[in-house]
Symmetry: C2
Subunit: 217 residues, 2 copies
Amino acid sequence: MNAISADTILEALRWRYATKQFDPTRKIDPATWTALEDSLVLTPSSFGLQPWKFLVVNRPEIREALVAQSWNQRQVIDASHLVIFTVKSPFTSDDVREHTARSAEVRGIDVSELAGMEKMVAGFVEKPPYPLDIKEWCSRQVYLALGSFMTTAALLGIDTCPMEGINPSGYDEVLGLTGTGYFTLAACPAGYRAPTDKYATTPKVRYAKERVLNHID
Amino acid sequence: MNAISADTILEALRWRYATKQFDPTRKIDPATWTALEDSLVLTPSSFGLQPWKFLVVNRPEIREALVAQSWNQRQVIDASHLVIFTVKSPFTSDDVREHTARSAEVRGIDVSELAGMEKMVAGFVEKPPYPLDIKEWCSRQVYLALGSFMTTAALLGIDTCPMEGINPSGYDEVLGLTGTGYFTLAACPAGYRAPTDKYATTPKVRYAKERVLNHID
């Protein structure tokens, strides 16, 4: 593994910000975009279940229709690319079975070898061992993907704008998700900041480190 | 911004896995660890609210006590470092006010200039515009931090093991969180894989790209 220097990573994380204005003339080149898609596919999740679907919306009419479901935020149409992060719900033992089958396929073993693991995971999603809303638990996994996506994009020099302030059910309708078992959680335009976006130079607001990170020594 | 190559990033994401055995003799050097802490502080969150606290547990007795709350998974003690991801709850207009004060401080403006923004955000957390459990919404934000942390660590050549299969209330007790308004969501040991961890070479199981990522063209 060729580790990247800490300074390079921190520089990228400080450079990133929630981009309010994208340059509509600048497109992410196909190879870089494919890498970002691949990074989404590689996102880790609890038990590896991947309770999600990512939608990359390229069709201009659909993106225009989504603006109206996004408090008219133009990033949805101005950015080079737009990813919608959706969660599978309900998530049941059937989904665990599909994942077990996939695991057996990838690892080249018989599914029966994974029966014990499948039973344990199916038990978890059907009857969690502690109070847990499974739809919310799956939603949290989707945010792992969103968190990793923003960081990966920044390292590639790509701007993003995580958007939760959208109308999720309006998105579901526009995207044809209604009735599919997938629900919109967030949208994330990606591309390049416009030179006129004043937020690029607004100081980043974070609490002091000692306010949000404590050591137990 | 010095962008990193897509190949380098994908190599790191493919290299990472949920490490089951850490090498207890290998420690992350202080400068690299500080960078990882700083990356946590920089994590983006909805409205920038940072509804979290990260605990870095160094004291061996506490880490030993957490093993018992983690289905005896030894990563909690064997890894070089251990981060606990906690969520603030309840999260109210008081928390929004604190964040507004911090924003004014960082940006060098009067808090009154942010009154409109504060009112909007306080309205959101007190009465969300669509059905939303605010504790869960805050929990999702914490997973942005966890997702970004795992990716950042991998890029630094650091192994991690996201752990949700723990007893959250047991963690809260051991860590003295009970009654503080912060609740454990997940733990993440970080360090270096042991050469004997067979999971390092087990094929990574992900769904086919077309199963989890669709284009709307």
